[in-house]
Point group: C2
Chain length 565, copies 2
């Protein structure tokens, strides 16, 4: 490709709403242009990268035996009613009425349609297992679309759905997809981890997320330094401390603590570490408020709390009015000592081994010191309700947990019978009986991968593409192409030779000044830059610079070819 | 590909609403499955064909210098208001409200978004010309979706938009697109014609449709047998007859004609040919009714009538009440003689040379004979308002018109300044002045091409794909693969060798009986069928049949390779 013929449009200034590196760089490089909130046009440059990711995903899906098809983006309400998701999906589901007042949605995923397809097409266990996939535009009406294509409303996704007679068969395809995903992200040249994930509202047996590692990632991940264990923090179990609870050594004492409210305030006030302070949160449970007690230095894990039978769903903090009504005090002074009997007290495993702790006094501006479980504070149940922290023991018993941040780019999921049961998708088994199929589902966020790669790989000057994602592998930059015929000819010859060797090359024949030209080529992240200039021509060399190396160096044509082979 | 691993799902019965061959065959071959009215899932088999068409279109667009990008399917109302199409597009535009009550549409085409992109990205004449294209899902909310993917609501389309400073530049890119389209349809192996088309409501200077020829086509096309002239019947000019109007020879005579209403009735009643009967239609004009007079054997051309200044838009027939109010009679008895003076009388060129004709009496159950223009009937203006018919002279003066039917699969269009002006898309010209850009637009209906090819190429047994569109070029059919190891091994070896030679091959290893297997392979239209059997193995030959040949014949492996090279 000659850059003079390609519509490259780098820009200097980006809007203030571009907060993260990938969003800024995609705008600066001219890869995307915003059309409306969460809606982006992919420019010629951006689309080249998107298509490369798409091609790798397709190849690996095909290699893993998945079969590609294509479902409509617009799907009828009736099917979504059958699964119950028409109502459950919430306002992220973009609902549409057609000219005949029939209702449809723009698919955010396609479980309903594929299950409908399967119940019509699959009749016998002999047709199983089968794994259908598509690469198709999706829509989620995010309340706050942000970060460019990282959390856009319209996006490109690969979604696959497998159908099985047995759990063993499902587990086998699940593993094949897991392996395919690992190959995809390895081939794309990204640092990634597969982590155990919560199966969430969908239920099911097993689930892994594929996370591209990046400091700016929205997801917190934990790894063991002594084993393969890796999980999303939502999922990671915090083991019970090995040591038993010490016996009480102090008397319970009520202390006036005006204006001492936060854990930090309390720890400072009493001169104790935050880990010796008990934090008590009240959330709205199924039958009134529920108290959650944990160490002052720990954080609630909302997924774990949501699974408590007393809570049963995404936890919502009690309002100030609710707290006042039940405890007679304001938030900041709640504690387990003397809480009304109707409030269940769920104590985190780490908090359950505290003795002589400080906690709220259940009266405005008071705290207790020397508090102890059983003797002073009621324990309904001990549970794991907190996020693990760096240094916690690994849940598999091997090593210590380390933390990292990641961007979720893939998710594999054993769905089980959920959709097939709701839609009555059965096949005849060997004995001639109708049996509900089991399903797996497997998603890759194709457009999101592009942004995630940039989050992981960029520097001051711009994007640093891994070679398999780069719009071109090599840029041949020509100094003064119009003024120097010999230079222009040498550049053309090099461009032709590289192209003939199958090296994807762009010729920067725009005639820009070297500084502006190099800045563009660095910004758009081309892995290899070669400069053809009068001086180099005289010396019989090319100036070569690898994108992730600091210095350029002089090399011969043959050295360049060897380097790119 | 091994067919045992591929989800092939041919069916015997198709729903009664499948009216045309391509719809029936796509359902029977299992290429598509209906999700809802006008919404289809493309099965693995169907998608293979769709992707082949897509690939050829992309290659030829790239070769012609167009640059690919990707626009969102969901587009904001504001832009569609700027062009005026939010209101004008009518109910085919699928309108959507998001969770914040903002309005959007699902794009049926993307003139607004690309013009917005261009006004932001293009600043200087130096960036012109540029031709952007995308291959993206589109939606048109058809009132009566039918014929499968031929007139679906959601469909796959390639749309390109070029930007220019001058008309010369636009004409040049228009020609390049015309040539690219010709290459696309030639490469796909389809019989097609490029025909002049009406520029319709969009205006603009030039427009050609690319039509796949098929008897079932919705469009009527005309060709000259003496030149290159080809046009959609909507566009084809009916020349004025060479001979002048004869002088009146008969007296005007009023005749009672109870129950004689249609042209056929009138011609039979008076014993004259339909061409001697004058047919008068009343349509709703801008300022009251307008009379259209043409020969009884001719048909109104609605596009031509819509362009009459008295009509100004798609013509609508007058209602019985309107006709009664203005003429005092019922439809069927209208004629130019004695029509109220406020009704303009537009006479077709062919009707204008009639003399002594029969026409309605403007009173119930009466007609005139011996009617003549000027003497008896008022002529406001003579115009071309009819469809040409077979045998008419070609409008270019060379040869005679012949008719054919076609399916529109491509359309190239010189838009001119319409959108760029509405959206204020300007660039700086060489003199430093801002100038509104000129635009061309170029569409290919990718999913429709699949159906059109089947309309053109099918027989009793099924689809007859041209090789470039076939899901596979060759099918290797194995007789009794499980019962005969030597046959299975020979088939595997042949399959491997063909694949190694780059011949796209499917191995039918499903173990079906020969009849069922051959029926499937014919139905899905594979161009070359090779049968590996015990008998052939003994004779050292393969049974070969070309899809469009009647008989199979025995050939050797080497003959097969030579034939496919």
């Amino acid at each position: 490709m000659r850059l003079s013929q390609f519509h490259l449009a780098t820009v200097k200034e980006v809007p203030a709403d571009a907060e993260i590196a990938s969003h800024k760089l995609m705008l600066r490089a001219g890869m995307i242009r915003k059309l409306a909130a969460g809606l982006y046009t992919w420019s010629p440059l951006g689309l080249r990268v998107l298509r490369k990711v798409e091609a790798v995903v397709r190849e690996e899906m095909d290699r893993a035996g998945a079969v590609e098809l294509l479902m409509p983006t617009i799907q009828p309400r009736e099917l979504w009613e059958e699964s119950g998701r028409w109502a459950k999906f919430g306002p992220q589901l973009l609902k549409i009425r057609d000219r005949k007042e029939q209702e449809f949605c723009y698919a955010p995923t396609a479980e309903e349609v594929i299950t409908d397809y399967a119940r019509n097409e699959l009749k016998s266990y002999k047709q199983l297992p089968v794994n259908f996939y598509q690469i198709q535009t999706k829509f989620r009406d995010e309340i706050r679309p942000r970060f460019g294509v990282m959390r856009a409303r319209e996006f490109l996704m690969k979604d696959a759905y497998s159908f099985h007679l047995t759990q063993e068969s499902l587990a086998e395809t699940y593993q094949a997809m897991y392996d395919a995903y690992a190959r995809i992200f390895a081939r794309l040249g990204l640092e990634f981890r597969a982590v155990q994930a919560d199966t969430g509202a969908i239920g099911g047996n097993a689930s892994h997320e594929f996370q591209v590692l990046a400091d700016s990632g929205e997801d917190a991940l934990v790894f063991s330094d002594g084993s393969d264990y890796a999980a999303n923090i939502e999922k990671a179990e915090a083991l019970a401390p090995a040591a038993a609870r010490p016996a009480p050594a102090q008397e319970l004492k009520r202390v006036d603590t005006p204006r001492v409210r936060t854990v930090e305030d309390v720890a400072a006030h009493f001169g104790v570490p935050a880990s010796a302070v008990l934090k008590t949160l009240l959330v709205q449970g199924k039958d009134g408020l529920v108290a959650l007690c944990l160490r002052g230095d720990h954080e609630i894990n909302e997924v774990k709390v949501g699974k408590l039978p007393e809570v049963g769903g995404e936890p919502v903090l009690a309002t100030e009015e609710q707290i006042l009504a039940v405890t007679g005090t304001r938030p900041g002074f709640i504690g387990p000592v003397g809480l009304p009997a109707e409030v269940p007290v769920i104590v985190d495993r780490s908090a359950a081994v505290l003795a002589d702790f400080v906690c709220g006094g259940n009266a405005d501006d008071t705290h207790y010191t020397g508090a102890n479980w059983e003797r002073d504070g009621r324990v309904t149940r001990v549970e794991d309700i907190r996020n693990v922290v760096e240094g916690d023991p690994s849940p598999d018993g091997k090593g210590t947990l380390r933390m990292a941040r990641g961007i979720e780019v893939g998710h594999v999921f054993q769905l089980g019978a959920k959709y097939a049961e709701a839609l009555g998708a059965t096949v005849q088994d060997e004995a001639g009986k109708q049996r509900v199929m089991l399903m797996g589902c497997y998603g890759v966020g194709i457009s999101r991968i592009v942004a995630a790669a940039i989050e992981q790989r960029h520097d001051e000057a711009g994007i640093v593409w891994p070679e398999p994602m780069a719009p071109w592998r090599v840029a041949v930059c020509v100094i003064n192409p119009k003024g120097d015929a010999a230079v222009a000819a040498a550049a053309e010859s090099l461009y032709a030779e590289l192209s003939a060797r199958g090296v994807e090359t762009v010729l920067d024949d725009r005639g820009l000044r070297p500084g502006a030209m190099f800045a563009d080529i660095e910004l758009i992240g081309i892995p290899h830059r070669v400069v053809v200039s009068e001086r180099g021509l005289a010396a019989g060399t090319l100036e070569y610079r690898k994108r992730d190396e600091a210095e350029a160096r002089a090399i011969t044509r043959d050295e360049l070819f060897a380097l790119l082979d």
